[in-house]
C-alpha cells in the first residue's frame, strides 16, 4: 500500500502517535469502503457464485438439492443425444432480435437530438417533454402500448386498417409480430435516453471546429459524419452500453404485455429464467440458474468490452 508523499512526510515528523494515527492514510479508505463492500459482496458477488453452484443441481427451492452435474446444461443446450430446449431456442433468438433492433434507439436518439438542438423560444420545455417517456416505469409503458395495440379497437389497428393491413389477432396476439411490438414499445423510452445523451454531447461540441469546417465547405451529412460524430464519441459509447444492457435485461415489458405468449413466442432468456424458477409451472431453481448462467456469459462478453474501454480511459487519464 503506497502512501501519498505529502502525508507521509507529515507523519514522519510526528512519530509518537497511536497505531491508528500512524497508519491513518492506509486504513481510512478501507474503513470507508467496508460497508459498501460488505453489502455488495453479500448481495451481488456471492450470489453469482451460488447461482453457478445451484445450476449443477436439481432443486425446487425448498427441499434438498440433488447434484446432477451438467444435466441442466445438457438439457438446455441439447448436448449429447437430446435436442436443444425449444423454449431456450426461441428465447435466444428473441434476445438477438432485441439486441439488434434496440440499437436503433441510438440513431433515432441522435436524429431527435439534432432536430431539437436549436435555441428557439421554449425549446427547453420541448427537450424535457421529449425526454419524459424515459422517466415512466416500464410497467406503465407496457400497459399503454398494449392498449395501443389492442385488436380492432387499438389505435395501431385502426391506423393500419386505413392502409388495408390487418394483423391477425392484433400485434401482440400474433406470434409473428408480438416480439417486434414489444421492442417498439421499449424503443420509445430508450430513444429518449439516447436523445438526452446526444443533446448533452452536442452542447459540448467545439464551435471553432464547426466554424472551421464550415469555412472549408463542409456541411450536412459530411459535417455530421466527419466533424460532429467523432466529437460525440463519449456519448455514443454510453448510449451503446445502456442500450445493450437494456436489451438483455428486457423483462418488465414482456411480462406486462404478453407474459411470454402467444405460444411462448415472446420469451427472452431473462423471462424464460423467471418462468422456469418462479411461476405456476413449477420451481425448477436448478434449471433456472443454468439459464441465468448462460445469460450471464452472454452479457459477460459485452461487460468485458465495456470494462476494457473504461480501463483504457482510466489509464489514459493518469
Amino acid at each position: 500500500m503506497s502512501v501519498s508523499p505529502a502525508a507521509s512526510s507529515h507523519h514522519a515528523s510526528t512519530p509518537q502517535k497511536g497505531w491508528y494515527k500512524r497508519n491513518e492514510i492506509a486504513i481510512t479508505p478501507w474503513l470507508f469502503l467496508l460497508p459498501a463492500i460488505i453489502f455488495f459482496t453479500v448481495y451481488v458477488i456471492i450470489p453469482i457464485g451460488q447461482s453457478f453452484w445451484i445450476s449443477f443441481h436439481q432443486w425446487d427451492g425448498l427441499g434438498e438439492k440433488t447434484w446432477i452435474g451438467t444435466a441442466n446444461y445438457e438439457r438446455l443446450l441439447g448436448w449429447g443425444d437430446q435436442n436443444m430446449d425449444r423454449k431456450f431456442e426461441t428465447s435466444f433468438w428473441n434476445n438477438l432480435r432485441w439486441l439488434v433492433l434496440y440499437l436503433l434507439a441510438i440513431p433515432a436518439g441522435l436524429f431527435i437530438a439534432l432536430f431539437l438542438n436549436q435555441t428557439v423560444r421554449g425549446i427547453r420545455v420541448y427537450k424535457s417533454l421529449f425526454f419524459f417517456p424515459f422517466v415512466i416505469s416500464q410497467v406503465v409503458v407496457g400497459l399503454v402500448f398494449s392498449w395501443f395495440y389492442l385488436p380492432n379497437d387499438g389505435l395501431f389497428d385502426i391506423i393500419t386498417g386505413w392502409f388495408g393491413i390487418d394483423v391477425k389477432g392484433g400485434v401482440l396476439g400474433n406470434p409473428n409480430t408480438a416480439t417486434y411490438g414489444i421492442i417498439a414499445a421499449g424503443l420509445w423510452p430508450q430513444t429518449a435516453y439516447c436523445m438526452i445523451l446526444y443533446l448533452t454531447g452536442l452542447n459540448a461540441v467545439d464551435p471553432e471546429q464547426v466554424e472551421a469546417a464550415r469555412l472549408d465547405g463542409a456541411k450536412g451529412h459530411k459535417m455530421l459524419w466527419y466533424v460532429i460524430l467523432p466529437q460525440l464519441k463519449p456519448a455514443t459509447f454510453i448510449a451503446f452500453v445502456v442500450t445493450i444492457i437494456g436489451a438483455l435485461r428486457s423483462f418488465d415489458l414482456i411480462s406486462v404485455m404478453t407474459n411470454g405468449g402467444p405460444f411462448g413466442s415472446t420469451r427472452v432468456l431473462s423471462f424464460f429464467m423467471f418462468e422456469e424458477s418462479l411461476s405456476e409451472f413449477g420451481f425448477r431453481m436448478g434449471y433456472g440458474a443454468a439459464i441465468a448462467v448462460v445469460l450471464f456469459f452472454l452479457m459477460l462478453g459485452f461487460i468485458g468490452y465495456f470494462l476494457y474501454s473504461m480501463y483504457r480511459d482510466e489509464k489514459g487519464a493518469r
Binding site: A6, F32, L114, V120, V139, L143, T200, L224, P234
Partner: protein, 282 residues
C-alpha cells in the same frame, strides 16, 4: 453549433420549424396523451367503442376517486415510498464513502475494487435472483419492504460508487492536501471538506436512484407478493386484475403509479440530466 442555428436560415424554414415542433411533440407523446384521455372517460365510452375519441363526459373525479378510495392503490403507493426513500438514503450514503475512498486514496487494489463495482452493476438480475430470494427468505425478510430495501441498496451501490468516485476524482486535490497539512483527521476531511463539495452529485444521484427504484418491477415480483409490501409497479398488475378491462380505471391507476418520478424529474431536471449524462462529455 450543429446543426446550423435556425435564426440563420430562411424565414420559411424558421416558421415551418416552429410549426413542426409541437406537431412532433404530439406524435411523440401520443401514447401518453391517449392514456390521459382514457383516464377521464366514462366506462360507457369503451362499451360503445369510443376508445380514442374525445370523452363523452368528464369523469376524472370519479375515476381517480375510485383509484384512491376503492382499491389498494394508496397502500401500494405508500409501500413504494417506504421502499424508495430508505434505498436512496442508504445507497447514497454507502457510495459517498466508497467513492471517497476510491477517489482520494492511492492503494494497490483501488482500481480492481472500482472495476468490480462497475462490473456488478452490469450483471443480469437473473443470476442473482435465486440466491437473493433464498437468502431473503432465510432472513425472514421475504415479502417485507426491508428485504427489498436491503437488496436495492446493495445493488445500486455499484452504480452510485462509479458515479461518486468519478465526481470526487474531478475535485481539486490540493484542497485535501492542504487539509492534511493542517493535520485534520481523514474522516473530518470527508465530512467537512469533501462532502460539502458533493452536493450537486448527491442531488443528481438521489433523483436518479429514486426513479430507478420507484420503477423497479423485477425485484418487486421476486421478493414480495402481497399488498402488505409490494410497491406500486407490482401492485398495478393486481389492480388491473381487480378492474379487468375497465380501461378508464386502469389508465387512471397507471398515471397515478407513474406520477411521482415524473414530478421528481420536472422538479430536479437539471440534476437528473446531469446525472444521466455523466461521462457523455469529456
Amino acid at each position: 453549433m450543429f446543426p446550423k442555428p435556425i435564426e440563420k436560415s430562411s424565414r420559411t424554414w424558421q416558421i415551418s420549424y416552429q410549426a413542426l415542433l409541437p406537431f412532433a411533440l404530439i406524435v411523440w407523446l401520443l401514447p401518453l396523451l391517449a392514456v390521459a384521455n382514457f383516464s377521464i372517460k366514462p366506462e360507457a365510452d369503451f362499451v360503445n367503442g369510443n376508445y380514442w375519441g374525445l370523452p363523452s363526459s368528464f369523469e376524472a373525479f370519479s375515476n381517480y376517486g375510485k383509484v384512491f378510495f376503492e382499491s389498494n392503490m394508496p397502500k401500494y403507493l405508500l409501500n413504494s415510498l417506504f421502499i424508495t426513500i430508505p434505498t436512496v438514503i442508504g445507497a447514497v450514503a454507502l457510495s459517498c464513502m466508497a467513492g471517497f475512498a476510491l477517489g482520494i486514496y492511492k492503494f494497490k487494489s483501488n482500481l480492481p475494487i472500482f472495476f468490480i463495482f462497475i462490473a456488478g452493476n452490469f450483471v443480469p438480475f437473473q443470476i442473482l435472483m435465486v440466491p437473493v430470494r433464498d437468502m431473503t427468505i432465510s432472513m425472514n425478510l421475504y415479502d417485507t419492504k426491508t428485504g427489498l430495501v436491503l437488496f436495492h441498496i446493495a445493488f445500486q451501490t455499484g452504480f452510485c460508487t462509479l458515479f461518486m468516485r468519478n465526481f470526487i476524482r474531478a475535485l481539486p486535490f490540493p484542497l485535501i492536501e492542504a487539509a492534511r497539512v493542517e493535520g485534520i483527521a481523514e474522516w473530518r476531511i470527508f465530512l467537512y471538506v469533501v462532502l460539502p463539495l458533493m452536493k450537486p452529485a448527491l442531488a443528481a444521484l438521489a433523483v436518479l436512484i429514486f426513479t430507478f427504484i420507484w420503477n423497479d418491477y423485477f425485484w418487486a415480483v421476486v421478493l414480495t407478493q402481497g399488498p402488505s409490501a409490494q410497491p406500486v409497479t407490482a401492485g398495478i398488475t393486481e389492480f388491473n386484475s381487480q378492474f379487468r378491462a375497465a380501461y378508464h380505471l386502469m389508465s387512471a391507476g397507471s398515471i397515478v403509479a407513474a406520477l411521482p418520478p415524473v414530478v421528481m424529474f420536472f422538479l430536479m431536471q437539471k440534476h437528473f440530466i446531469a446525472g444521466l449524462t455523466l461521462g457523455a462529455v469529456k
